[in-house]
């Protein structure tokens, strides 16, 4: 019994230790020295993390929008309320599916890439040699990626929602025969910029922060071996995904109930 308590205590301490290290990585990367000289690095990372994720985001967004329209129509048509399809799909996408799914996709595609990259740099002693030359790898490698993730995530989430709504409109209006006017009108009436769209954006900003932070930390902290990198990459995807979903619950709770 006592030994179980002890190991629980040790485990909690190690979790705190990890959080502390991760926190200090984030702190040192973001709050030190002017970032302007590193702007080209940030731009390059926005390309790597954001631009290269556009394809998967657009494809997924379109598909999910189309599916939502299909399923939504099937349900609504039973009550004669298919004109509300536009509203329903838009709300679901903008508030939930858009930010959450794009964050999950981002974690899988961009997050794992970042972890692998930084892990590889650590394993091949590039981070060490950078330090020896006198450059802080947190400033040069970690910080640009954090900023890039922070900026790219909301943009990707917005794109997801827009493409999703478009996909839904193609399915709902052009295929299933919902009146085009009603589709858009109910949507415009019911979707409020401040309460819905903006809150969705806040969510995706939070997700971007969390996912990129986890990705960067896992890479930075990995065991410098090839198995270590593989394990770290897996951890990034798993931890980020869980974090996004749990965070989504709490954010939704705070934003939409209070």
């Amino acid at each position: 019994m006592l030994s179980r308590l002890r190991s629980l205590g040790q485990y909690s301490l190690s979790v705190l230790e990890v959080l502390g290290r991760a926190g200090s990585v984030w702190w040192q990367a973001i709050w030190r020295r002017p970032r302007l000289e590193n702007l080209p690095l940030v731009i390059k990372q926005i390309y790597q993390l954001g631009v290269l994720s556009v394809v998967i985001i657009v494809l997924s967004g379109f598909s999910i929008g189309a599916v939502l329209a299909l399923q939504g129509y099937n349900q609504l048509v039973q009550y004669g309320s298919e004109s509300a399809l536009g509203l329903g799909v838009a709300l679901v996408l903008v508030m939930e599916i858009g930010p959450v799914v794009s964050a999950l996709l981002f974690a899988g595609r961009a997050g794992s890439a970042v972890t692998a990259e930084i892990g590889l740099m650590k394993t091949t002693e590039q981070l060490s040699s950078m330090e020896m030359i006198g450059v802080d790898p947190l400033q040069r490698i970690v910080a640009p990626r954090l900023w890039a993730g922070f900026i790219s995530m909301p943009i990707l989430a917005l794109m997801f929602s827009v493409v999703g709504i478009w996909g839904a409109s193609l399915v709902g209006v052009n295929w299933l025969g919902v009146y085009e006017g009603a589709f858009w009108a109910t949507m415009q009436e019911g979707v409020d910029f401040k309460s819905h769209v903006l809150k969705g954006i806040i969510k995706s900003v939070a997700f971007g922060l969390v996912v990129t932070w986890i990705a960067v930390y896992q890479g930075y902290d990995t065991e410098p071996t090839s198995e270590g990198i593989a394990a770290a990459t897996t951890r990034t995807v798993v931890y980020s995904s869980v974090a996004v979903l749990v965070l989504d619950f709490f954010l939704t709770l705070v934003m939409f109930r209070f």
């Binding site: 390059k44 926005i46 556009v54 949507m187 415009q188 769209v197």
Partner: protein, 150 residues
């Protein structure tokens, strides 16, 4: 890849983000009521507001002219006091106008429909509409129907 190309592509990416935001703002959420001309407050008391909520729309002849901004309970008369933000461009609400709580479609979204009266005097900021019609509550309707049967 050349740095210049990357910069251009990233710029396009961010532009796409801004455009998406704009689309969502305008096309999807119909970002309009009360933003340009300001609003003024009009009050109305109801016996039963049904499912009316804050942000429900306020219409005249079916056209949206404002939204509900506050719902409170009057502790003396135990009636619901609804505050509506009416768009500044709507200036001829006569003092004998009627405010009724109506239902939208079958899904039951409640909204307020205002019918203009004949009085020359018009409502200003903070004035109240006295002629009101409460929401139709299904149970009461059934109750009335049953009563009539006997």
């Amino acid at each position: 890849m050349q740095m210049r190309t990357i910069e251009i592509v990233v710029g396009a990416f961010m532009l796409a983000g801004i455009i998406s935001l704009a689309i969502l703002a305008v096309r999807v959420s119909g970002f309009n009521v009360g933003t340009s001309t300001g609003t003024y407050a009009v009050y109305a008391k109801f016996e039963n507001i049904g499912g009316l909520v804050v942000r429900s729309k306020v219409t005249i002849a079916g056209v949206t002219v404002g939204q509900v901004s506050e719902i409170k309970l009057d502790n003396e008369t135990f009636m619901a006091v609804v505050k509506m933000d009416i768009d500044g461009s709507v200036t001829d609400l006569s003092t004998d106008s009627t405010a009724a709580i109506l239902t939208e479609g079958l899904l039951g979204g409640k909204y307020i429909g205002i019918s203009i009266g004949a009085d020359e005097r018009i409502l200003g900021d903070g004035d109240q509409i006295y002629d009101t019609q409460s929401a139709v509550v299904l149970e009461e309707l059934i109750g009335q129907f049953l009563m009539k049967q006997f």
